[in-house]
């Protein structure tokens, strides 16, 4: 699956609710799948008493992984050329996350047309937790 260059316009956006009321168990699920067993994310006692956080929080990579869906559901996984993010704020159990992807520009490259996107994921208070950019190959 790949989008055609005619099927996408600069300024076009897609929004996707990634998770509602994020559960601690979901964070454990990501720890097991990814192999990142940092107790900051799964061990409430370590997170509060040793690291001094209010509680466990999600792996940045869980948020990035979920955020990727707003792109892959739109352009297809095979079409992605780059995907990069900055982690802006922590994601806590109970958070509801919404991601938005926006077409910033379309470029003609020797290898064919490419779409450049900005992405941002916000929590239920509207605070940015992840911002980033991505590029995807388009069908000519």
């Amino acid at each position: 699956m790949s989008l055609s260059a005619d099927g996408i316009k600069v300024g076009e956006t897609r929004e996707s609710v990634l998770v509602e009321d994020l559960k601690r168990t979901r964070i454990v699920q990501y720890a097991g799948a990814s192999g990142d067993y940092n107790p900051l994310h799964t061990d409430e006692r370590f997170a509060t008493e040793v690291a001094g956080y209010p509680g466990v929080f999600a792996h940045g990579m869980l948020t990035m992984g979920m955020t990727g869906r707003v792109l892959t559901d739109w352009v297809g996984t095979e079409a992605l050329l780059t995907f990069g993010v900055r982690f802006k704020a922590q994601v806590w159990p109970g958070d509801t996350l919404t991601a938005t992807a926006t077409v910033e520009s379309l470029e003609d490259t020797p290898a064919g047309p490419v779409a450049h996107f900005s992405v941002r994921t916000v929590n239920q208070n509207g605070a940015e937790v992840v911002t980033g950019i991505a590029a995807a190959r388009l069908e000519p």
């Binding site: 990634l18 998770v19 979901r26 699920q29 990501y30 097991g32 799948a33 990814s34 192999g35 990142d36 067993y37 940092n38 107790p39 061990d43 006692r45 370590f46 008493e49 040793v50 690291a51 001094g52 956080y53 792996h59 940045g60 990579m61 869980l62 990035m64 992984g65 979920m66 990727g68 869906r69 792109l71 892959t72 559901d73 996984t77 095979e78 992605l80 050329l81 780059t82 995907f83 990069g84 993010v85 900055r86 982690f87």
Partner: protein, 150 residues
């Protein structure tokens, strides 16, 4: 091919896709396509991965006590970037080579922040680049202290 072998397995892709809430058919089955951030799961195959408990070695999380802050602890993931040279599918083995990248510092609200990069190149059995990954970590200067000191 040199580098740490990372066998890309269908069951592992399925588990990872479920964890990020992506149950599209593309990530299922024997020739499942890997989601964009799946390369991070190569940590499962890294014999020296710091964030995995090991039999017979002290683990820093809670047991009968709350645990301890490890040396250099208190760091966080600041940025993550991927460049995809081609899609990754179950059934192939990739080879990961990690090298340190740049390091720099910035003045934060409560002191200096030390940033460092790690660059991992994932290649296929033919040595062709498949995914390039760049991780930026940030650690506050000084001994790791509980966050209530912020």
């Amino acid at each position: 091919m040199t580098g740490q072998p990372f066998p890309v397995e269908a069951g592992h892709i399925m588990m990872f896709a479920r964890a990020i809430g992506d149950e599209t058919p593309a990530h299922q089955g024997e020739t499942a396509l890997a989601p964009p951030t799946f390369m991070m799961a190569s940590a499962q195959y890294d014999p020296d991965h710091r964030l995995r408990p090991r039999q017979g070695e002290e683990w820093f999380g809670s047991g009968s006590g709350p645990g301890v802050m490890p040396e250099g602890g208190g760091g966080l993931h600041a940025e993550q970037h991927f460049e995809y040279h081609r899609p990754v599918r179950a059934g192939e083995t990739l080879y990961a080579t990690t090298v340190p990248g740049r390091s720099w510092e910035k003045q934060g609200r409560t002191g200096r922040l030390l940033f460092s990069e790690r660059v991992t190149e994932y290649r296929d059995a033919a040595g062709e680049p498949v995914v390039s990954a760049r991780t930026v970590a940030v650690v506050p200067e000084g001994p790791a202290t509980p966050k209530d000191a912020r």
